[in-house]
Structure formats: structure tokens, C-alpha cells
């Protein structure tokens, strides 16, 4: 009853609905622009949320994430260019449908499946987050240290091409986290006498530099992007018969999206491709996949929109961001002085209630705005890249300055942009660095506090049951992440060698 009163108060006494619509609209536009990922879209919005009420700020950022996941499917279907990585699987059948003159139907299926996936994701988010957070309340310094290590162990699964590069990125993130005042003794480290660095480098400055500025730097060396999307296209939502046909792929997509979202590091891209494959495997008409199958659009869209909600589970429960977008959202929490994790449920319950309520409204907002915003998205995608990039650069400069009215912050963002550009060039992934950055302080401070409490005995990490459990899971996770490709290669070898 108390919760219902809170929700009623939010809906009637705050600008929640306007904030949700604003966030979803911004997300759809950002997601629709090729090269502008959900994390960049959210990072660009962050400075605008700084002066907002914390609950409204978080709701707006989360709504943007929801909108961006749908927005990515618009260019995927219309010009065979996914607006986001997670929408890449949607191109396989979505673009084929468009070539067959069924573009409006493909857009409608993408929107409908996205909303269904989002609703299922939200239910799973609410069901899973609080029980996990309640467990986390029992944590002591050794357990927090081990939790940080568990979060960092995700790096092994994020390595993509090179584990060495992923580990290096993670360590650099942790190095950046050491700048400022030492958490135990209080002495300053790596500040070079600058008072601007005494409180450390704010993660959000690094994230905006890494994701948004480095993308602009990369785009500056590339040609103009594809424009010329047909202008008179509209969304056609699926009829009853089609909705029945889409039930199975949507359930498959949402199931996979739930699992992948909860697993830190997996993310929407893997979920959408897995959902596509599994939906084809369990389809009555697998031969239609790749040739304009509606199920081939519904499964990945349901999956990546489910992930947009379930990816918040590890962040809200344990304070571990599992994806780039949730890392930026975590940045939003931090600039408002909110620490994601178990204590958030005790100290700032209104933010959690607001977030859940906002996400629920975001699904309905997406259904409406997905139809209304399409002409605006098409107009935006058809703008000359030169003006769009220049305006985004201006937006970053204005937004970052507005956080603290500090030109020093802008120089940090530019340095992070150059670092991000170099990382893209050398093939180093961003997420390990962000994980190192946001978990570095937690790992170091709790490691040293644990040793102070135990008189320097490292066995404290194994004697504490929760800590030992986390370290065991982290070990299994690392071995599994590293061993799985080797195992697959080993299993594939006889088949490759076979004379048939």
C-alpha cells in the first residue's frame, strides 16, 4: 500500500511522465544515428540531468537506454546499418522485409517485440534485484573486496580478441581510480599538486571521453555516412494473427535476454544473436530466416529490450555495471551522490521505486513514440554528418562544463577522448577500463581495510564464507571464460579433420 502511495505520488506530484517521454524520445533519436550507441546517447544526456532531482535524473537516463535499444533497429531495417551493436541481428531479416516492401511491418514488429521484451525484462528486474541486494547487506570488507574481484573477473569474458589487452584496459582503469586522496591513510596520490584532482577523477568524465569524444575523433577520419532513407515510411503494428505467431520467438528472446542481462559483461549484442539463432532452431519455418522472417526480427528485438532492464540487476544489487550503458547509468547515480548497491534500497528507496515506475511507463512511451518519432529519426539520419558531429561536439563541451563550471573537467574529457581513440586503434575494449575505474576504489579500500582488521593475514579472504564464495565463483568464471574457446576449438577439430 505504501509502495502504491509512493507510485501515485510520483505520477501525480512529479514530472515523471514528461521525463520518461523525454528520455525515450532522446534514446530513439540517439539509437537511430549510426555510430551513436546507447551509452553515448546516455553520456550526452548526463550533464542535463545534473541539476534535476536524482530520481528524475535516473529515470530519464534509464528511459533513454530503453528508447535507444528500439532506435537502433530503425536504420537496421531501413538501410541495413544497425544504429546500435545490439540491432545488428535485426538487419538479417528486417532489411530483407524492407526490400520486399514490408518495411512498415518490420518496424512494427520490432517495436511491438521490443515493448514485450521490455515488460518481461522489467518484471525480471523487480523480481531479482531486491533479493540479491538483501544478501549483499551481509557483506563485510573481505566480502566487498571479493565482490570487486568477481566484478573484475568479467574482464576475462570481455576480452574479445585479446585477453592481454582487456587486462591492460582493466588495470589502467584501476590506476585512474588511485588518483586523489588515499582511502586509508588520507595522503594524496598522483595529483601533481592540482587541487582539481584531490577528490579523484570523476568516472563520468572518463566515460564521456571514452565513448563519445573518441567516437567523434574516429568519425573525423571517415567519410560521410549513408543517407537517403525513404521519407514516407510508417510503422505498422502486427495484427492479431501475427502477434500470435510472434509469441514463441519473443519468449525465446526474453528468456535469453534475462539470462544474458543478469550476467555482467554479456550484453544486448550477444543476447540478440543468441535469440536469433535459438528462435530459428525452434521455429516451424527455419528456412524463412534470413529471407524476411517476422520471427527473425521479433526474437533479437525482444532480447535486446529485455537486456535493457535486466542489465540493471547486477548494478542495482551489487554496484557492478555489466555493460557500457549501465556503466554510464552508474555514472548518473554517482554524480547525484547515490551509490548503487545494497544500501541504495535502504537509503534511497524512492529512487528505486521511481526507476521501476519510470521503466514501466517507458515501455508504453516507446510504443507511442516509436510511431510518432519515426519521421524525426529519418530526418536526423538524413542530416549532413558534418553538422551533426559539430553539434554533438558542442553538446559535449557545454554539458561537461555545466557539471562543475570547470574547464579542467573539459581537458580531462579531451585526454580521455584521445585515450579512447588510441584504445580503438589498438583494439582494447572499453568496458574492462570502466569496470576497473568504478571498482578500483572498492577493491583497494576493502582489501586494505580487511588486512588492517585481520592484522595483515590474507587468510581473512578465505575464512569469510561470502568472500570465499565470491572468489570461487570468480575463479570458475575466469576458467570458464578462458577454457570455453579452447574447449570449442578442441571439439571442433575432429570434425574439421574428418575426411568427409
Amino acid at each position: 500500500m505504501d509502495m502504491l502511495t509512493q507510485i501515485f505520488g510520483l505520477v501525480t506530484g512529479t514530472p515523471l511522465i514528461a521525463v520518461v517521454f523525454g528520455g525515450v524520445a532522446w534514446g530513439i533519436i540517439g539509437g537511430a544515428l549510426p555510430g551513436i550507441s546507447p551509452s553515448i546517447t546516455m553520456a550526452l544526456l548526463l550533464p542535463f540531468t545534473y541539476t534535476m532531482d536524482p530520481t528524475m535524473a535516473i529515470v530519464m537516463l534509464a528511459s533513454t537506454y530503453v528508447g535507444a535499444e528500439y532506435g537502433g533497429s530503425i536504420p537496421a531495417i531501413l538501410i541495413n546499418t544497425p544504429g546500435t551493436n545490439a540491432a545488428a541481428a535485426t538487419t538479417l531479416d528486417g532489411y530483407q522485409m524492407k526490400l520486399q516492401g514490408r518495411g512498415p511491418e518490420a518496424l512494427g514488429i520490432s517495436l511491438y517485440a521490443g515493448v514485450v521484451g521490455g515488460v518481461i525484462g522489467l518484471v525480471m528486474l523487480i523480481a531479482l534485484t531486491e533479493p540479491l541486494a538483501r544478501v549483499a547487506l551481509l557483506f563485510t570488507p573481505p566480502a566487498y573486496f571479493a565482490l570487486g574481484i568477481l566484478g573484475l573477473s568479467v574482464i576475462a569474458s570481455l576480452s574479445g580478441g585479446s585477453l592481454i589487452k582487456a587486462l591492460m584496459a582493466g588495470i589502467i582503469g584501476m590506476m585512474i581510480a588511485t588518483v586523489g586522496t588515499d582511502p586509508v591513510s588520507g595522503v594524496t596520490r598522483f595529483t601533481f599538486g592540482s587541487s582539481d584532482l584531490l577528490s579523484g577523477i570523476k568516472p563520468i568524465l572518463i566515460m564521456v571521453g571514452l565513448f563519445a569524444v573518441s567516437e567523434l575523433f574516429m568519425q573525423a577520419g571517415l567519410g560521410a555516412w549513408v543517407t537517403g532513407i525513404v521519407k514516407d515510411i510508417r510503422v505498422r503494428l502486427p495484427d492479431r494473427a501475427m502477434r500470435r505467431r510472434l509469441v514463441r520467438p519473443q519468449l525465446i528472446g526474453s528468456g535469453i535476454g534475462t539470462f544474458e542481462g543478469v550476467m555482467p559483461g554479456a550484453g544486448g549484442t550477444i543476447a540478440s544473436f543468441m535469440a536469433y539463432n535459438e528462435a530459428r532452431r525452434w521455429s516451424k519455418n527455419p528456412e524463412e530466416y534470413g529471407h524476411g522472417s517476422p520471427e527473425g526480427v521479433a526474437a533479437p528485438e525482444a532480447a535486446n529490450n529485455t537486456v535493457a532492464c535486466t542489465a540493471l540487476v547486477p548494478m542495482l544489487s551489487f554496484g557492478i555495471p555489466g555493460s557500457n550503458a549501465t556503466a554510464v547509468l552508474m555514472g548518473g547515480f554517482l554524480i547525484h551522490g547515490l551509490i548503487p548497491g545494497p544500501t541504495l534500497f535502504q537509503k534511497s528507496e524512492e529512487v528505486i521505486v521511481g526507476l521501476y515506475t519510470g521503466l514501466a511507463f517507458a515501455q508504453f512511451a516507446m510504443l507511442l513514440l516509436g510511431i510518432v518519432m519515426l519521421p524525426i529519426c529519418i530526418w536526423m539520419v538524413n542530416r549532413p554528418k558534418a553538422y551533426l558531429m559539430a553539434f554533438i561536439y558542442a553538446l559535449i563541451f557545454s554539458g561537461i562544463y555545466s557539471l562543475n563550471q570547470s574547464l579542467f573537467d573539459l581537458s580531462i574529457v579531451l585526454v580521455a577522448g584521445v585515450a579512447g581513440y588510441a584504445m580503438r586503434l589498438f583494439g582494447m575494449p572499453f568496458l574492462p577500463m570502466v569496470l576497473g575505474l568504478v571498482l578500483g576504489y572498492m577493491v583497494e579500500s576493502n582489501y586494505r581495510r580487511s588486512l588492517v582488521l585481520s592484522g595483515g593475514d590474507h587468510m581473512v579472504f578465505l575464512e569469510n564464507a561470502i568472500s570465499a564464495g565470491f572468489l570461487a565463483v570468480a575463479t570458475i568464471f575466469v576458467i570458464g571464460s578462458l577454457g570455453m574457446p579452447l574447449w570449442r576449438r578442441f571439439m571442433a577439430k575432429p570434425a574439421t579433420d574428418s575426411p568427409s
Binding site: 592481454i164 588515499d182 595522503v187 558534418a386 553538422y387 561536439y393 563541451f397 557545454s398 562544463y401
Partner: protein, 160 residues
């Protein structure tokens, strides 16, 4: 691969500089056994070892399959274009930081938008001026008037 060797050497340099800097961290009487320098030095050593491993990997790949790792002329040209693009955008950003305190937000931002758009291929003219001035005024209105954040006024401080 050449990229791995260059990247590895860069990271090695970072780890050495970071380690040297960590040696300057002041010792505190409140310090624990690990100390304020302990964890940073461990990070530096780990990064150094990984950097050496990356360089070694790059060298081995170069020695074992030189044909595969050699960049084509097209790839070298693309890299040059990309580096030039990055350096120009960075230069424009640094230029903005240098002039904004004097010229103020509005003039500096109009210049930034116009220069970036011109560099990325927009033709100078009325459209460019409209986008630069219009875009800047929209941003100024949002931040300064709507959100109440005072943007740098520069030499126009008395006028605003």
C-alpha cells in the same frame, strides 16, 4: 602485429612512469602495512608485465608470418587520415579551451561548431552560419536560461 608492438611499448612507458610517480607518494604515520603506494605499485608491475607480453606476442607474429602483418598502402593511408582527423578535432577542442575564458561561451562555441563542420566537409556559407549561430544559441538558452548554469561570459561579462 605492429599495432601490438607499438601499443605494448606505450603501455610499458605508462607503467614505468606510473611506478616512478608512485615512489613519490608521501609516507603517512597513519599508513597500513600495504601503504598508499602498495596497490599502485602492484598495478604498475602487472601492467608492465602485460605490456612486455603484448610486445613479445607482436614480435613473434611479425617473425612467424611477416606477410600477414604487413599493412597495405591503403591501410597506411586510412590510418594517416584517421590520425589527422583526431589531431584536428583535438586541436579545435584545445583551441576552444584556450579562448573561451576571453571570448566567452557564445562566440567560442559559434567558432567551434563552424570550424568542426567546415573540417568535416560542410561548405562555408549561410547554412553553416545559421547552424553555428542557431545551434549555439539553443545550447546557451538550455544551459544558461533554462538550467541556470552560468556559462563563461569572457570580455562580454558587462553586457550579459
Amino acid at each position: 602485429m605492429t599495432k601490438d608492438i607499438v601499443g605494448g611499448l606505450l603501455m610499458l612507458a605508462v607503467s614505468i612512469l606510473y611506478f616512478l610517480q608512485s615512489m613519490n607518494i608521501r609516507k603517512s604515520s597513519m599508513a597500513d602495512d600495504v601503504g598508499a603506494h602498495g596497490v599502485p605499485q602492484a598495478y604498475a608491475v602487472m601492467l608492465g608485465l602485460l605490456a612486455v607480453a603484448l610486445v613479445a606476442k607482436g614480435v613473434i607474429e611479425r617473425l612467424t608470418s611477416p606477410a600477414q602483418v604487413a599493412a597495405t598502402q591503403e591501410e597506411r593511408d586510412a590510418l594517416k587520415r584517421s590520425l589527422l582527423g583526431m589531431a584536428t578535432m583535438l586541436g579545435i577542442g584545445v583551441g576552444y579551451l584556450l579562448v573561451v575564458s576571453t571570448l566567452g561561451y557564445i562566440v567560442s562555441m559559434v567558432l567551434l561548431v563552424a570550424i568542426v563542420a567546415y573540417y568535416l566537409g560542410a561548405s562555408p556559407g549561410l547554412q553553416m552560419a545559421a547552424v553555428a549561430v542557431g545551434g549555439t544559441l539553443v545550447l546557451w538558452a538550455v544551459f544558461d536560461l533554462l538550467l541556470g548554469i552560468s556559462m563563461p561570459a569572457g570580455i562580454w561579462a558587462d553586457w550579459m
